[in-house]
């Protein structure tokens, strides 16, 4: 079935491709570029935080004087950077990378499908993502600059903000549309075109994680889509969905019908954004599970409890959103409900993490680069999860709310958490996609430096937060308690810049390894799942013969087998 596609032109093959692998790679490259861009925004912010009011080296001189004063950052520019860093990292970096890239590339291969169920929809999803991304980036060039009301865009601040916010909303509408199209496609693909014999409990954990993620996207994004359109109407059409009566901005009563509620936006936003946290982390957990099973050379411990936990996690993630809002004046009945659900949702996460750690017992652990990242994921995600505990309870949250503690907490989840998982995935599947393996030495340098500096960035934030330093402050040293921990701020900044430098070996490795003449083996990690049954790299249509599945996903070191792995697609071990 693949022959008819072999003579496609360049455009059809690389730009308007409907092949899930090409789309996956398109998503991956675009998302990595956005991630790097979002990271660069943050590096500029870190300069202002470490050396408030001094000129940014090199870049400062190149920026227009609406953004900087003689090279030193101005507060509105800082707010733009903050808002766009969050938006880019979450909606244009990690989600497209975790779902768009890894999901697209790996899921059809792991379920033995020739492509996604709706290849054109898949292409459209990518295109909507690119348009959304371009709209977001274009907003930097507007007279008032990009959106500056935080990635959360709380009304009424966002409603009264400059035109950048309009672009942000339009960009979000495209990004959300992209995710919705993708999510539908994943659900149908996973439910309908699995290979023969691939029952639900023979699905690799990664596929499970993508299935749950797709449901989260499908159910959580529409409220935000609606909310974004409401906010756009508030800005452009004079409605008052989120504007209460009698707003006085800049000493003047603003002209609006009024009667809306600023809290409505927060509810709609967090109704998406909490499940979104799981969208960010679940695919990462899926990748980690794959890598750990492969490199421990034994089955995952507690595969079924993990799957059940995943489903519970997905379900409960819709019932915890208001724990972001304890400090909005919510009554104790409400906050009690959300404190209880928040404590309950920690339990499936603990189960998954514990299963992964216990999987190490009795193993024969290979310390490949992918495995190093996977192993680092466990304690890092552990810190991220544990620090969620005091934030999930209203009383400690009264002190920690909107401080650097919160920043440290969720960055531990998504940066050394999800992003390490993404790196693990890249090191693990790179041979599948390119037919070459990544250099191990460069990989280990990349890992160790990233590991050290990630902690150097986020651990100090915990202490700053403890000291009560609020987030989103252009210059925290204005406060006495902020000035007292300024040393930690400087440490964070230097770690962040070193972390950027630590990515250089990765970038070199990524491009240099692609040109290696030495080809990787078809199954270089001696893995068991279906993606390794295809030729490398897989052709259009993927499988040369339709695969049939005979066993579970992680049959390593099966007693009596003649080698330490028994692939799903091999009928009988001799």
């Amino acid at each position: 079935m693949s022959d008819e596609h072999s003579d496609l032109g360049f455009l059809r093959k690389y730009v308007f491709s409907t092949d899930h692998k090409t789309i996956g790679i398109q998503y991956g490259i675009t998302a990595l570029v956005f991630l790097f861009f979002g990271f660069s925004l943050m590096m500029m912010m870190r300069w202002q935080l470490a050396y408030p009011g001094s000129a940014i080296p090199i870049i400062g001189g190149l920026l227009p004087d609406t953004l900087v004063d003689r090279g030193a950052m101005l507060p509105d520019f800082y707010n733009q950077l903050g808002a766009m860093h969050g938006t880019i990292m979450v909606f244009m970096g990690i989600v497209p990378l975790a779902v768009g890239a890894f999901g697209n590339y790996v899921v059809p291969l792991q379920i033995g499908a020739p492509d996604m169920a709706f290849p054109r929809l898949n292409m459209m999803s990518y295109q909507a993502f690119v348009i959304g991304g371009i709209v977001m980036l274009a907003s930097f060039f507007l007279p008032g600059g990009a959106a500056s009301s935080g990635w959360t865009s709380y009304a009424p601040l966002a409603v009264t903000a400059t035109t950048g916010q309009t672009f942000w909303l339009i960009g979000m509408i495209f990004l959300i549309a992209s995710s919705l199209l993708g999510a539908l496609n994943f659900i149908v693909t996973i439910l309908h075109i699995r290979a023969e014999g691939l029952t639900f409990f023979r699905l690799p954990f990664f596929v499970w994680s993508q299935l749950v993620t797709a449901f989260l996207l499908l159910l959580a994004f529409p409220p935000l889509q609606a909310a974004a359109i409401f906010q756009l109407m508030d800005r452009l059409a004079g409605t008052s969905f989120f504007l209460p009566s009698g707003l006085v901005v800049g000493g003047e009563q603003i002209v609006a019908a009024g009667g809306g509620s600023p809290l409505l936006w927060q509810h709609l936003f967090w109704f998406l954004a909490h499940p979104e946290v799981y969208v960010l982390i679940l695919p990462g957990m899926g990748i980690i599970a794959e890598v750990i099973a492969n490199n421990t050379r034994k089955p995952l411990w507690g595969y079924r409890p993990m799957v059940y936990s995943l489903l519970v996690l997905g379900f409960l993630s819709f019932g915890v959103w208001a724990h972001h809002m304890y400090m909005t004046g919510m009554g104790t009945t409400m906050s009690t409900f959300f404190q209880i659900t928040t404590m309950i949702i920690s339990i499936p996460s603990v189960i998954i993490l514990t299963c992964l750690v216990i999987s190490l017992w009795g193993a024969s652990i290979r310390f490949s680069v992918a495995m190093l990242f996977a192993l680092a994921f466990l304690p890092m995600f552990g810190i991220g999860g544990l620090t969620g505990l005091p934030l999930g309870l209203a009383a400690p949250d009264a002190h920690l709310h909107d401080t650097y503690y919160v920043i440290g907490h969720f960055h531990y989840v998504v940066a050394p958490g999800t992003i390490f998982a993404m790196f693990a995935g890249i090191y693990y599947w790179y041979p599948k996609a390119t037919g070459r393996t990544l250099n191990v030495t460069l990989g280990k340098v990349h890992f160790w430096l990233s590991f050290i500096f990630m902690n150097g960035v986020f651990m100090p934030m915990m202490f700053e937060g403890m000291a009560g330093v609020s987030r989103r402050l252009f210059d925290p040293t204005i406060y006495d308690h902020g000035a007292a921990v300024h040393g930690l701020t400087v440490m964070t900044s230097w770690s962040a810049w070193c972390l950027a430098a630590a990515q250089i070996p990765f970038i070199i490795n990524f491009f240099w390894s692609m040109r290696k003449t030495e080809r990787a083996e078809e199954n270089p990690w001696q893995a068991t799942t279906l993606e390794w049954a295809t030729p490398t790299p897989p052709p259009h249509g993927n499988f040369t013969e339709t695969p049939v599945v005979y066993r579970g996903p992680y049959e390593y070191s099966v007693p009596g087998a003649d080698r330490d792995f028994s692939p799903q697609y091999v009928k009988q071990e001799a």
């Binding site: 009011g53 030193a72 000493g251």
Partner: protein
């Protein structure tokens, strides 16, 4: 189609008539309007500005003394300060020479100096900071484009070019960091404007003979206007009285 042509030609006519402004001939400016703005009645209650609790650096600039808001200042002679008086109609059709340099707005002691000023259309407003604390300059333009620029302590001046006339009401300029700070800038297409000072008087010199509508504007008591006809070499005296009786 014909309607379209008519519209097009009207448009060009309008454009052409706009370009028809004659160069100003200083020899024509022989007439003059002077006068004063009286205040009758009771001054409104206002509270002094407490800067100390919010920004100690502001309060230090005043030696800790609390300042009165500049909204309504009644002079000792019973006149009203900070009233913007300008020729609303009658001075069109001339191309006046532009003054040199920018209109200046200084931020000093977390107050704006001057509180009310006029400037020419096409001129730039240069906002200076003399304070050891950060400000932002937030202009609420109705015809001109709004702007919002931060100015940390010691920052260079921020210059904003005013492309459109905006005199009635003038544009409000505020600092959001110090919400008590406000100032009003009237952008006028000709040089006939004045702001009443400590004696409550104003003077609009060098007018060509003719009939004019003179408008006075005050930030709290709003506008009132009078029509005046002056001949060659004459001086007319006007008197405005606030608050407007209603």
């Amino acid at each position: 189609m014909r309607l379209f042509l008519v519209l097009i030609s009207l448009f060009f006519l309008a454009a052409a008539s706009g370009a028809e402004d004659k160069p100003w001939n200083p020899a024509l400016g022989t007439a003059k309007v002077t006068g004063s703005v009286k205040f009758e009645g009771k001054a409104p209650r206002m509270r002094r500005i407490d800067m100390a609790g919010a920004d100690a650096k502001c309060a230090e600039m005043h030696g800790g003394e609390r300042q009165k808001p500049e909204t309504v200042i009644i002079n000792e002679n019973g006149t009203l300060r900070n009233v913007f008086v300008w020729v609303k109609t009658g001075a069109e059709g001339w191309k006046f020479p532009m003054p040199e340099g920018d209109a200046l707005l200084d931020q000093k002691g977390c107050m704006y100096t001057p509180h009310v000023q006029g400037m020419r259309q096409g001129q730039s407003l240069s906002v200076k900071t003399s304070d050891p604390t950060a400000h932002n300059v937030h202009g609420f333009g109705k015809k001109n484009r709004s702007f919002n620029r931060s100015q940390p302590a010691g920052a260079s001046n921020v210059a904003i070019r005013m492309r459109r006339d905006e005199a009635s009401p003038p544009m409000k300029v505020k600092c959001d960091i110090h919400p008590w700070m406000n100032s009003f800038v009237a952008v006028v297409p000709h040089p006939y404007f004045a702001v009443t000072g400590p004696d409550g008087s104003f003077e609009l010199p060098n007018l060509p003979p003719g009939t004019y509508t003179i408008e006075a504007w005050h930030e709290k008591y709003d506008v009132m206007e009078q029509t005046v006809t002056i001949g060659d070499g004459e001086t007319q005296t006007l008197e405005f009285t606030y608050p407007t009786k209603s």
